[in-house]
Amino acid sequence: MKKFDRNDDSVVVVIGSGAGGGTLGNELAQKGVKVVCLEAGARLDFTRDFANDEWGMFGRMAWLDKRTTSGSWLVARDFPNLPAWICKTVGGTTVHWAGASLRLREHELKARTTYGSIAGANLLDWPLSLAELEPYYAKAEAKMGVTRTNGIPGLPPCNNFKVMAAGAKKVGYKQVHTGRMAINSKPRDGRNSCRQLGFCFQGCRMGAKWSTLYTEIPHAEQTGNFEIRPQSHVLRIKHDKTGKVDSVVYADKNGEKQRQKARIVCIAGNSIESPRLLLNSASSTFPDGLANSSGQVGRNYMRHLTASVYGIFDKPVNMYRGTTMAGIISDESINDPARGFVSGYEMETIALGVPFVAAFLLPGSWGRDFASLMEAYDHMAGMWIVGEDMPQESNAVTLHSSEKDPYGMPVPNVHYDDHANDLAMRRHAFQAGTNVYEAVGATRIVETPPYPSTHNLGTNRMSEKAANGVVNKWGQAHDIKNLFVSDGSQFTTGGAENPTLTIVSLEIRQADYIAGQMSKNNI
């Protein structure tokens, strides 16, 4: 396997190996660009290390480094030190994601224009159009093997989906199917097809679900242009006298500090760690942090309007048999302000095992009533709501004033208040989900508050003008031309679609741009 010298200043350093970093690293390596990928987590082998064990895999894969929370969101009450449910492992959160692969819609990319001026919302149109993104969406869908694209059949309907679909039909919803999923319905790309294990969140033991761990990263390694260094936690990005970034400092697996020189640095640490790293890299030249002349680094934190609805029925459902996210209702994913809010939401099945239902159904609950819900576990069907939340400048990832990590760097605080639009949408979604399940006989409904965020977005957002965002339409920092953001923190707004497909598409596109700029010696 290729190894690069730490003093090799011709390499592109990619920080993170998930949907953003893993994809970008491979795309660059395929073009002959030399890449060092620094990943904070360890490397697991899906054929050996992945177990159908909810808490066991959570302990092995989740990002559990200390984080704090503030704000009125329920996550701060229910999970004060776990604002996000994302991963610290090679492959990042692509080991955990459920596979839903949806394109952003035209109106979602033009949020400011479509929704107008919303009090308290820091809305902006994306600096790129759907037409510009479409060719990259097509490449991403082909790469990931998304069902219902490229002639790939949909996955078969499981019990949990059948309940939701039957209710949807009664309610009158039309856009209902088993989803566009980056899960093989047939063997493809040297990977198995899905055997309906469940446990998609615990790492796919079949390798049927796309994850950079066993696709992009080994493909990149085969080029001889790519080195991944697991257990390499980046602490700081350094720059030269001209203000260009020139190296990164990281803690290796022994906790020793190392410095890797770089021609270009691309940050893909997810929407909490990426802004944290920029803020922690403040210098006398950049006292507010790197790429932060706009003051927007860490701001406009979005997490999707999430919530879940569980219905309890007289007869068994056994929702846990089959894929975690087994289908979708898209009828509510429109902008219809007559509903009392702008933008919309997707309804997607979700299924958890007994251990996670106990912890996440109604966090903190106990007593007879809660126990009676657990008694009905196998009679339960579940859906997750993914809606667009409003970007707010005050919803922000900031550096904690006193708490430090083991390397002496301030830990991140994640502040979030629901916007009135978010609250109105969540109320609507709870009712819509209730209607679906009651239409097929649910005797009891549980409205589950948000889980820790898996869709973390917006904290280094793209903007046309340098004054109101962190990066341009290529993910390149407005302030520093050899510094890129390569994850969901680029999102100008969140849309109502699961973000991974868009992240992968943006990184295929960004790789084209970086390679082109390198060959022209512009960076």
Binding site: C194, Q196, L197, G198, F199, E375
Partner: protein
Amino acid sequence: MSKARFNRRQFLESSGRTLAASSLTAYLPAIAAGEIKFENLDDYTATVLIRVCRVMFPHDELNDSYYSTCVEGLDQKAVDDGNLAELLAQGVKKLDGTSAGKFLEMDEAGQTRMLTSMEGTPFFKTIQGHVVVALYNNPKVWPHFGYEGASYPFGGYLERGFDDIDWLPAD
């Protein structure tokens, strides 16, 4: 609520239903006889905590051994957390120290009121946070809830009922 199913009935037979309605005293002899040993908690504290676990997550068909296992986990956590045993012992004293009498002598409604009054305390939150994982993450209780656990060793559910629901309306 949910009807008994084949797997649940099987489970009940194997788990000894006669214990299902057991009062806590069924466990005092077990502790006294040294069948269950606690390293950091005294026997009385442990006994009260077993009851606390049950009142927090009451499943009448689960016998006390499952709740005892939760307290054994707390006892083990106390090895690494020097303050935990004291926190638990003091909490138990508070549960016993009101005009309502000793916790173990209260009925379930009274015990629930006592625990409600302590919601939000470190004592309560420590136990609740531990037990909600320790109880429901124990594979031995899963059959009671109709949950089959790991499926990979059995080839997933593709041929084992992933789509076997048969009661939905046809139209």
